[in-house]
């Protein structure tokens, strides 16, 4: 990124021994042009990524409270994280739960819905629209609606379950059901992934299915040997981006706790810290308590983990590999 020397011009293929003055001028023009087009991005990269990232790392070694000047405290914040923070392990477990259970559930559900939609002969477009619609609902609004629907006392969900003889759980008011309830909310809003899967499924050449059918493949075999290989890059993409979104999971957990609790006291992670996620812990430490330095230490951990997943994406998913982008000489 730092070396923005333009190498390619329309005559990039020409031997570059002793370039003519006109060519050199063109080189210069090209370099300038690249800089001009990229200028906002370069500024943004420096100001909104490099600078704050360096500062986050620095502040994680201080006792910053965002009010008085920060003092260097060595590894104290990291030590506190590892042995004393009463809430951090629960937050790690909660975020881990979301990544290990909610994200795969969302991917599988979206795949299932996409496969059903792909088979529809009538009204496929309408169904696709209806399935996608909830994905656009503002997360705060969707969460508020779900907490109301799943209210164990007045909500319709437990009432409907009661009609079929099921004694519904406490959902957002139960430490063991709050994350499953959030998962249902995530499934409801999984339309984006569904649309991506649907497009991939419709891209699988029909002849391949016909050939498989002629070979006597049963539906499972057709799925396993035709569909899956064809859509696996998209599944990987959806899974990794899902994992990264899972690591950032904040809004729904925070709003659900706040609305379900009713009484604002003890809201974060309500009930019993079961919805307290890692980023929420970071926010609380930095902005509600006076522990910005500690919040930065948590941020460094979050950064390392999400970068590890991004690396997986970069190495495995072709579209993210810059080497494979088409090189069009100007």
């Amino acid at each position: 990124m730092s070396t923005l020397t333009a190498t390619g011009t329309r005559s990039a293929g020409a031997p570059d021994a002793a370039p003519a003055p006109a060519l050199r001028a063109r080189h210069r023009r090209n370099r300038l042009r690249v800089l001009l087009f990229l200028a906002p991005g370069l500024v943004g990269f420096a100001v909104f990524l490099v600078y704050p990232l360096v500062m986050t790392v620095w502040l994680s070694f201080t006792n910053s409270n965002m009010i008085s000047p920060a003092q260097f405290v060595g590894l104290r914040n990291y030590r506190f994280m590892l042995d004393s923070d009463p809430q951090i392990w629960q937050a790690v477990r909660n975020t881990g739960w979301l990544v290990v259970i909610m994200v795969p559930a969302q991917v599988l559900f979206a795949l299932g819905v996409a496969m059903v939609t792909a088979r529809l002969k009538a009204g496929a477009g309408l169904f696709r629209t209806l399935f996608y619609l909830p994905a656009l609902a503002p997360p705060v609004a969707a969460t508020v609606a779900f907490v109301c629907m799943f209210n164990p006392s007045s909500g319709p969900v437990n009432q409907l379950l009661g009609l079929v003889g099921i004694h519904g759980p406490l959902w957002f008011d139960s430490p063991s059901w709050s994350k499953p309830a959030l998962t249902l909310l995530a499934l409801w809003g999984s339309g984006t992934v569904m649309v991506i899967f649907l497009a991939a499924l419709l891209d699988v050449p029909a002849e391949q299915y016909e050939a498989a059918e002629l070979d006597g493949a049963n539906p499972w075999q057709r799925f396993r040997y035709v569909t899956l290989p064809a859509i696996s890059p998209v599944v990987l993409f959806a899974t990794v981006t899902g994992v990264i979104a899972g690591l950032q999971y904040f809004t729904q957990a925070m709003v659900a706790a706040q609305v379900a609790n009713g009484n604002i006291q003890a809201a974060p992670g309500y009930p019993n810290g079961s919805t307290m996620t890692f980023p929420e812990e970071l926010y609380t430490s930095g902005f509600n308590q006076f522990h910005a330095g500690y919040a930065c230490a948590l941020a460094v951990v979050l950064f390392l983990v999400s970068m590890a997943f991004t690396l997986v994406l970069l190495r495995r998913a072709s579209g993210f590999n810059p080497q494979e982008t088409q090189e069009t000489p100007l």
Partner: protein, 299 residues
């Protein structure tokens, strides 16, 4: 069915198994059709149900919304005006529109040239630049929030929506990524034709490329708009201390507890936040779906 058709059985002996198989296949197809569509209808109910529930609850009385009745006994439409009287939803609505429009406009202005350069120019460091875009796209916003907050505080811009809008002027990673994916699909020949006519790159971009990438621009614009519209984290961090600068998402999240209202008003407020998104979606469905498809298809 064909097995007990004795009259024609002998005559049709040779053709019958064939026809039987075809008929069986047709019947199976019909059953599968019914099953598929039944599942789809079931799913549609599950997907649309919550929205219908919000609508119904939003016109109930206080008392009824505390019970488990599903159908409003008395349609209390005044809830919608009450919401605006109870909390400054009008102000929050305006703030949200301003934030969303400004952020989207700024994003398009900055991101299109960046995406164009990344997709179409050859220069040393291009791959690194692309990696930087991916990194920024995947980076949780929480990682940088403390230094960013301190930076905006030093500029005396906390408490306003500016810290949410200004970064869009410097390119949005997700939009750049998406636009770049689309630009790669435009055949180079079109551009070269324009270049041969002596157009500068800027003219090539504005006159040739931009019209061709309209669907992508619309999709990216819509995504950016709704990202801002739905954003809770950003306004929470930067406008928290000033309710006059809150957005709908922020106001809605605390509406029930801070205004001591029951579910009916809460659901009316919820629908107010949802409605614009739903309306725009029905008008711009195609662009949305194409945009989403673009996200994944290259992946």
């Amino acid at each position: 069915m064909t097995s007990y058709a004795p009259a024609s059985a002998r005559a049709a002996r040779s053709a019958s198994p064939h026809r039987a198989a075809r008929s069986r296949a047709r019947r199976r197809r019909a059953l599968v059709w019914v099953a598929d569509h039944a599942v789809a209808v079931g799913l549609a109910c599950a997907f649309v149900g919550p929205i219908v529930f919000v609508m119904l609850t939003s016109v109930m009385t206080d008392q009824q919304s505390l019970s488990s009745d599903l159908w409003p006994r008395h349609w209390q439409w005044s809830n919608y005006t009450t919401v605006f009287r109870t909390a400054p939803f009008g102000t929050w609505l305006i703030n949200t529109v301003v934030y969303a429009v400004a952020a989207t406009g700024a994003m398009l202005l900055s991101s299109i040239p960046i995406a164009y350069a990344l997709a179409r120019f050859r220069f040393r460091g291009r791959n690194a630049a692309f990696l930087a875009v991916i990194t920024m796209m995947m980076l949780p916003p929480q990682v940088l929030v403390i230094p960013m907050y301190l930076m905006w505080a030093r500029l005396h811009l906390t408490g306003t929506i500016w810290p949410l809008v200004i970064p869009s002027l410097f390119g949005d990673a997700f939009s750049v990524f998406l636009l770049r994916q689309f630009l790669l699909t435009i055949p180079e020949d079109y551009l070269n034709a324009a270049r041969v006519d002596g157009c500068s790159e800027l003219r090539v971009l504005t006159r040739v490329v931009l019209p061709m990438m309209r669907p992508a621009v619309v999709a990216v614009g819509l995504f950016a708009f709704f990202n801002a519209w739905n954003d809770y984290y950003g306004p929470l961090i930067y406008t928290g201390e000033t309710p006059a600068h809150w957005t709908l998402a922020l106001g809605l999240a605390s509406f029930k507890t801070s205004h001591a209202v029951q579910w009916n008003l809460t659901m009316a407020a919820t629908l107010i936040a949802m409605a614009p998104v739903i309306i725009v979606f029905f008008f711009a469905q195609k662009a949305f779906i194409e945009g989403v498809t673009l996200t994944g298809v290259k992946g």
